[in-house]
Amino acid sequence: MEALNEFLARRGLYTLVMILFFLGVYGMVLSKNYFKKLMAMNVMQVAVIFFYLCFAQKEGGMIPILVPGNVDPAAYINPLPHALMLTAIVVSMGTSGVAIALLMRIKESYGSVEEPEVLRRASK
């Protein structure tokens, strides 16, 4: 029990993030619907974002806005991963946008976004 607590305290969050990531991959691989694949992809991307946010945390750190008089870097959490993740969120939004546009065109052309159906019609 002690060991489990220890593990959860140190690694628990990362484990959860990893499970989330692979849930996403799992969904992308196994679901038959293109839109579900896309949503699974978003889950995976969110997992990556969580991962960054997790390791940016610091016990006792406060949000990285300069408090007058306090110039000790240890007092603040690291702002860089957050900034990076802003970019990553934008990128993932862009990716989703492109993907949705593609799906709309696929739906127009094939009348479906179900993978077996689309493939069946494409091979005709």
């Binding site: 992809m41 995976m44 860089l80 991963p81 492109v98 593609l102 696929i106 052309s109 494409a122």
Partner: protein, 499 residues
Amino acid sequence: MSISTHAPVFIVLLPLTASLLCLCFSRLNRKLGAWIVQAAIAGSFVAALLTMYQVLNSGSHNLHYWMGNWEPPIGIEFAVDPLNAAVLCMITFLSLVISFYGKPFLVSEDWLHYGGYYTLYGLLTVGLCGMVVTGDVFNMYVYLEIMSLSGYGLIALGGKKSMIAAFRYLLVGTIAASLYLIGIGYVYSMTGSLNMADISVRIQPFVHTPLFAFAVACFLIAFGIKMALFPLHGWQPDAYTYAHPGAAGLISGCMSKVPAYAMLRFFFYIFGVTSPVMSALLDVLGIMGIGGILIGSVMALAQYDFRRMLAYSSVAQLGYIAVGMAMGNMYGFIGAVLHLINHAFMKSCLFLVVGGISYRFGEVNLYRLGGLNKKMTVSSVALCFAVLSMVGIPPTCGFFSKWYLMLGAYEGKEYIFIAILVISSLLNAIYYFRIVEQMFVQREASLTELHKPATKFGLPMSMVLPIGITGLGILVLGIYSYDIVVGVLKLGLPEVFLR
């Protein structure tokens, strides 16, 4: 402080600006946007040449451009060494040449599609150049995504089937990008830096930790997917086959090479190949490369769609590059980089020729190309050059990269690689010579002309020229390979090989 000191940033900045403005100008005049993008790419090519000149003439053969004059590791920098400069010149040159090629395919399109195509095209160039020139790992992620997203778009433009291919590529590509991001996360948490030069110093205490191994594995898979390294190449044949024929040359030529180059940068310049983790990784890379060479060649042999055959052949050729890296010695490294450049030209040339054939005849079945040598002279000569180069016949460029790879294999005592190289050349010979044979032997295949030839070369001038130039490039690269190797590549070798 003259303008030429800003050359590295112009390589990326010019096409980026032009692409963003392209649609606005296209609204005014259908073709104006395209011209602006092309002019920007031309400017970017000039900037790349200028950068190359500056790098070769600087004392340390290294150029650092600090964005907004923020000093790294705080700021983002563009770092250019001779290797970077060579790859940049290659990308911008090919991009410039191929930008003309797309026009005949677009004549009947409205302004939105015309401009949209060139917007995507310009952004693809931005992404490719940016990935090479940047000295910041997260910045590279952004360029990777710019490259990928515009790439998905260009692939999807190819027609009905291409959309499925593009969507699948998008899914797989996003996995790669996410893995890359995770890898960066690990590296950042170890070193606290995102600057490549800085990381390469700070990572050294960690190179024996499992964390490092995990990060490196993430990079291997991420770049492996992007460069279509066996067994991660599943997305690639469809994507290449159905990509828009106007851009297929650039997509096939550069879009898999640049991730390969990024991998090379990470492994050889940032992480260093001397640690046990890395040497184990190089072994894995070698096995993947061998698998790619064999499976790619065999699969290519089984295809009758010309484009798909080329796509599988790319898998094999990327295997060469992987094998070159896996040797972990100087000649292997030179062979890998040289092959990266050479293969970009060869594959671009081949895809351009295929595009030309499908433009004129609507035919991609490689058993129905009879009599092509009479109908499309320049294309068939270029095709012959590319084929000879693929097989590795001197003095075409493909021979020279193979020569260095073989030297590297002997030096590293990896005799299995030599056997693989020989076998793969012979497999290449089989599946490429059957095309040449078809061309010469089948006198009258029943080809129906979709487009009447506009010039006596059988294709519009804006298609003949790119084909001719890339075809000639294969020969020129071969003849000047000494200057490329000694004059450029050897000046930018990673430190490991200098000792």
